[in-house]
């Protein structure tokens, strides 16, 4: 199974991961369009919100268009998606993206662009 893992102690809050993610699909640097989120913690440091490939998005989808691929990554079939946004509301990490410019939401595909953009190794792709 392929998925992102994180080490928040290494995060410096540069948000390079957010920029890489939003540019990948939406072609703009906008953290609201990123499937990885960096939040400042009240006590200092940063919280990294990532898709854990838990599959809840797929369970709530009544079109059945979010299915795990061979690597265990839950992929959204945009052609068949009706844009109901239930997956966005039910994502426990709140890292699915709804953007008004598109009918369908977007989710982490474990593509690794955020990992490459991270200067400290705070996020990694785990293949287990």
């Amino acid at each position: 199974m392929k998925r992102l893992v994180k080490d928040e102690s290494k995060c410096i809050g540069c948000r390079s991961c957010e920029e890489a993610c939003s540019k990948a699909y939406y072609k703009v640097a906008d953290r609201d369009k990123s499937c990885i989120k960096i939040n400042e913690k009240a006590e200092g440091g940063f919280e990294i919100k990532i898709c854990t490939q838990c599959g809840i998005c797929g369970q709530v989808c009544n079109t059945g268009v979010i299915q795990p691929n061979a690597n265990g990554v839950h992929m959204l079939n945009k052609k068949e998606c009706v844009g109901c946004l239930m997956c966005v509301g039910y994502c426990p990490e709140q890292v699915m993206v709804q953007d008004d410019s598109r009918s369908e939401p977007s989710k982490c595909t474990a593509c690794g662009l955020c990992v490459k953009a991270c200067p400290t190794g705070a996020i990694q792709i785990q293949d287990c």
Binding site: Q59, V60, C61, N62, T63, G64, V82, G83, C84, L85, M86, V88, G89, Y90, P92, Q98, D100, S103
Partner: protein, 740 residues
């Protein structure tokens, strides 16, 4: 617990059989049309089909109809009025079945946005019945270019109507071979008109069932294809016998196909506000539903135990408000043993409430499909309560079996439950006996007899012929035969205006007595479901609160049916901070959600008061429609005493402490006087008091509604709400000063 991931897919239909059925079709008419693109929720087009001559017409919906009637139920009633006259009966050729979804219907981002409203002149009541239903047909009809469909006339042989919204074709075929029972014809037509398995979700079917050829309690089934289970699911436009009208016209089914579902087929005014409102609601469902009603696990049957505990669950024909056997059928039993969990059970896309639960691979024990393993849609609360405790039955397996057969035969489970409960009480009182029932021992709790009666009704055989008449006609028939005392039967027959009561015991809720009695179509809870806020949550404690609720809620709840929304997402989950708001019972944040959705779709910004006025226009139109057809006055709002207080000594004694106490606390007797009174005297005093309270309630509600004391809308009120249409004034003017 049965998990969705463990449920095998259902066996596919035999495509060779489907091809034979299709080959037997005879084309009667086919038209091509250019589907009108939806703009801001409306196509402004009406499709009229007359099956007498297989004619098909497409016409414009005028702007003034849109302004006054909005859509949905408003359109249904407007076009039904125009097609009929004061003498039209349910089986008159000019009687129509009108269907319309409404402007918001078909968006996918919010829960409960796929509703269709259906109206006709009812075989049970003789006045308009309206019923709302989920499934995919409503949105697909609109995507195919029509805000409303009116079906009129009478065909000579069975026909199906097929609308293809992508190709822009409508055809009417003779269709002799398809089955009548809904679970079969639903699968057959879905497979017939889908290009392949993946295409089946683009096909929606409206059909009735084999009982609808003769049973007045018959409803319409609306399908949606469940791609995970690989089978067709059924939702019902249940109330008032619409299925009987459908089959009287010899319509076997209406099919609508539409490919390419996306969230902006309505070409809305502001999609951003719809998206944001939708995601906010889905988050609320995700976090609050597990702490509140568990709708995703059990659906509407979540209330079963609570209603039992509050003495509301109708038991033994509404005699009692609960059963000691509730543990056999309380929600956790259905969750843990019967209903598949973890399924996305929305009856339209985007319904995160997902209350359309199902029991999978349920093995039938009786009837023509005994031995088959089927999907059972439900049970909804109303079904479980009505065919369950109200008939003395608490066995889930039996409730599910009755649920399945009612659905596939096309019988309304609410009317069925209430009717059988009445027959059982008649049996136990000697009005019926084995000789009169053809050998059926209709005691409360006799599961075998209840099922056998259902199968007989579907076949129109034996005592089933009587059962299919409905409660109102049954009591008249029994009196004619000299079998029973009409006064007693009027007290215990839970019907009003000819429609059977839905499943809430209202004896201890004056608000719900009015919620049933002061309705337009008859005693169905969708207009004023006040029992929970009155008796469980105590949110409308005073007399004035109750009267005001009977003004506010029918208007508020009518609006859902104008725009294509389901009511359940309004208050079956509430925001976490709802109890801190000024009026928690109204769920203010959700009302604002609806105002945002209406604005987002139509571009028209309305406030809470304007929402109510939109409904009030249609509500008064329906009231006057009733008057036009001979009902709709104060005398027609009278209710059976069983819904008000204890009819029998057995009932009084079962709650003696309560009733004796009320004679002191509410009626004004002293404790000593009550102790001296005979049981009959106490029952008479209780009756006088309770019936008086109901009359007082009417006296308080009618003026709020702008009606005379005879229940007739006042002309000045019609002017105030912009509904002083000449055809309405013509009817109410002579009645303005007529005393009740």
């Amino acid at each position: 617990m049965i998990q969705m991931c463990d449920v095998p897919r259902y066996k596919d239909v035999d495509m060779e059989e489907i091809k034979k059925m299709q080959a037997a079709h005879v084309l009667l008419n086919k038209v091509e049309y250019e589907p009108k693109q939806i703009e801001k929720g409306y196509t402004d087009k009406l499709l009229t089909i007359d099956v007498t001559d297989a004619s098909i017409q497409i016409s414009d919906i005028p702007a003034e109809v849109k302004e006054k009637f909005v859509g949905g139920k408003g359109y249904c009633l407007r076009y039904l009025w125009d097609a009929t006259n004061p003498n039209t009966k349910w089986d008159s050729p000019e009687n129509e079945i009108v269907m319309s979804s409404g402007p918001i219907a078909g968006i996918t981002q919010y829960a409960g946005t796929g509703k269709m409203l259906v109206a006709t002149i009812s075989p049970l009541t003789g006045i308009p019945i309206d019923s709302n239903v989920g499934g995919f047909f409503g949105p697909y009809l609109k995507f195919s270019g029509f805000d409303a469909l009116e079906l009129k006339g009478q065909a000579e042989e069975d026909v199906i109507i097929v609308i293809d919204g992508n190709k822009g074709t409508i055809e009417i075929d003779k269709a002799p071979l398809e089955h009548l029972d809904a679970h079969l014809i639903g699968e057959e037509l879905t497979a017939m008109y889908a290009d392949d398995e993946n295409d089946r979700k683009h096909v929606a079917v409206v059909c009735a069932g084999s009982a609808a050829d003769h049973c007045d309690l018959s409803m319409l089934n609306f399908t949606f294809y469940d791609p995970r289970r690989g089978t067709v699911r059924l939702k019902q436009a249940g109330r008032g016998g619409i299925g009987r009208v459908f089959r009287h016209k010899k319509v076997k089914a209406i099919v609508c196909k539409y490919q390419g579902i996306k969230n902006d087929l309505n070409h809305v005014h502001d999609i951003s506000i719809i998206n944001k409102t939708g995601v906010k609601y889905h988050r609320e469902m995700a976090t609050q539903d597990p702490k509140q009603n568990n709708m995703r696990k059990i659906g509407t049957a979540n209330t079963m135990k609570i209603l039992n505990d509050y003495d509301i669950l109708p038991t033994h024909n509404f005699k009692f408000g609960g059963t000691p056997n509730i543990h056999e059928m309380e929600p956790k039993v259905f969750i843990e043993q019967w209903l598949t969990q973890g399924a996305a059970d929305g009856c339209w896309y985007g319904c995160s409430m997902a209350c359309a639960k199902a029991a999978d691979h349920f093995k039938l024990k009786t009837g023509p499909y005994a031995g088959n393993c089927v999907v059972v849609d439900g049970p909804e609360y109303e079904t479980a309560a009505g065919v369950g405790p109200n008939c003395g039955i608490t066995t889930p397996q039996v409730i599910l079996e009755i649920n399945f057969y009612c659905d596939t035969y096309g019988i309304d489970t609410i009317s069925w439950g209430t009717t059988v409960a009445f027959l059982m009480e008649c049996y136990e009182n000697g009005i019926l006996n084995k000789e009169r029932t053809g050998g059926l021992e209709l005691n409360f709790g006799n599961c075998d007899a209840a099922l056998e009666l259902l199968h007989l009704t579907a076949k129109n055989e034996g005592f089933g012929k009587i059962a299919g008449m409905g409660t109102h006609k049954q009591k008249e028939y029994f009196a004619q035969q000299g079998w029973g005392d009409m006064k007693f039967m009027n007290d215990i027959a839970m019907e009003q205006k000819g429609l059977e009561y839905s499943e809430y015991g209202s004896k201890e809720s004056l608000a719900q007595q009015g919620g049933y009695g002061l309705t337009n179509k008859g005693p169905q809870h969708d207009e004023a479901w006040l029992i929970f806020m009155d008796q469980v949550n105590n949110q409308i404690p005073t007399f004035d609160d109750k009267a005001e609720a009977l003004y506010y809620y029918p208007r508020f709840r009518t609006w859902f049916g104008l725009v294509g929304l389901c009511k359940l997402p309004w208050n079956d989950v509430v925001p976490e901070n709802n109890s801190l708001t000024d009026e928690p019972a109204k769920v203010p944040e959700h009302v604002d959600n609806y105002l945002d959705l209406f604005y987002g779709v139509t571009g028209r910004r309305i406030d809470r008061e304007e929402l109510l006025v939109m409904s009030e226009r249609v509500y008064n139109f329906q009231r006057i429609f009733n008057i036009r057809l001979g009902k709709g006055l104060r005398k027609h709002d009278a209710i059976p005493y069983r819904s008000v207080g204890p009819v029998t000594e057995e009932e009084y004694l079962s709650r003696q402490e309560r009733y004796d106490g009320q004679l002191v606390e509410k009626v004004g007797y002293t404790k000593e006087q009550v102790e001296q009174m005979s049981l009959q005297e106490k029952m008479a005093a209780t009756r006088t008091y309770r019936e008086g309270e109901y009359e007082k309630l009417i006296n308080a509600v009618y003026p709020k509604r702008g009606w005379t004391m005879n229940g007739v809308p006042k002309i000045e009120h019609l002017k105030k709400i912009g509904m002083d249409l000449p055809e309405l004034i013509e009817i109410v003017e002579p009645l303005q000063n007529v005393e009740p």
